[in-house]
Assembly symmetry: C2
Homo-oligomer: 208 residues x 2
């Protein structure tokens, strides 16, 4: 019986960061990269780099480093970034509008196909190229457009209700920006963005 290894959350985050560092190096026309070079760029130990990558197979040779193009492609595959992801956003307030206009998502394959709001003044209009629909149409649009990922950018009190709507519509992954804990079924992946966390990292260092 083969047990699927549990990959630590932080390893997944670091994979994203390795991917960015490799992208940076590639633009500088490097061809090979050693674990210590990746480690240096990210301010971690090189043994950590080797351990992270070992979860997914054998990418480099001892003393030879990694072949850049192949490593980048492998990480891209592991992170699911070799395909397009169809995303819906719920809540076209300031944060929602900012995310609709955010250029970074599309470059990584995340396409916001539809936005939803309950404000009649916003419905039927486009924001940064994305149509804003009436939230009552959420289920039918998500199914019709085969959307897989939902982003929640509404105030805390309504977040759970919107999460329920999204999961009932068949969404399998939710990115929640509302500053509240929400519950989702076991088969749905939830990721919470807590904007205060990063500020607390800064206050920790300023307090030392």
């Amino acid at each position: 019986m083969v047990k699927k290894t549990k990959i630590p959350e932080i390893t997944i985050t670091r994979l994203s960061n390795y991917f960015r560092v490799l992208d940076e190096f590639k633009r500088r026309e490097f061809y090979n990269i050693a674990s210590y070079q990746l480690a240096e760029e990210m301010d971690i130990n090189d043994s950590q780099v080797r351990k992270d990558l070992a979860y997914f197979g054998q990418f480099g040779k001892p003393g030879m480093g990694y072949e850049m193009t192949r490593l980048k492609e492998e990480i891209q595959k592991i992170l699911g970034l070799t395909r397009k992801w169809r995303v819906a956003l719920v809540g076209v307030g300031n944060l929602g509008s900012a995310l609709l206009a955010y250029k970074g998502f599309q470059g990584q394959g995340f396409h916001i196909i539809a936005a939803f709001d309950s404000d009649p003044k916003k419905m039927g209009k486009k924001w940064a190229g994305t149509v804003v629909y009436d939230i009552t149409e959420l289920k039918s649009i998500i199914r019709k457009e085969r959307i897989e990922i939902g982003i929640i950018t509404i105030p805390a009190p309504a977040a759970q209700e919107v999460a329920n709507l999204l999961t009932k519509a068949g969404i399998k992954a939710i990115l929640n920006f509302a500053p509240v804990r929400i519950a989702v079924p076991k088969n749905v992946r939830l990721s919470n963005v807590d904007l205060s966390l990063r500020l607390e990292n800064l206050s920790f260092f300023l307090s030392r």
Copy 2:
């Protein structure tokens, strides 16, 4: 010679999460908490909880768990959350406006005292209670208001320039939302928020 222990980044993030979990438990009127309870809430091992907390001293007794109020206060102290932090935000676009209106910051002691923009139509006005100043006044306002933390919410091309302005004004910590790598002097703490990272965590799991 005593060497200051290097605390892993992820431990600091987890401290913020312990703090939130303890807050949750406190509202449910628990008085003691075991490491396995904290671990369960955060989906990690209880040995990890003990290891994280051990960086900062001896908080609990073996077999007795932690005294909730004391542990919460200690973590608050470690994270620098027992005092107010004076924050400036540069770039009052959609994302900047969203952060100015974000209720979560103030509750944790982060007060956005001043905002800056280069658009004359925004200058002199208030947004969510915060005055928007001309960016040319940045240095004098930051010094006068004794601001310590800067948040960058402008487009990528101008981010480095704004970071330079902030550090020259004496800012010691920067939270950067611009999707670009910026450089800061060694004595300045920089934290980058990459909004795509969390989506990549979701696509990783959807791809498995």
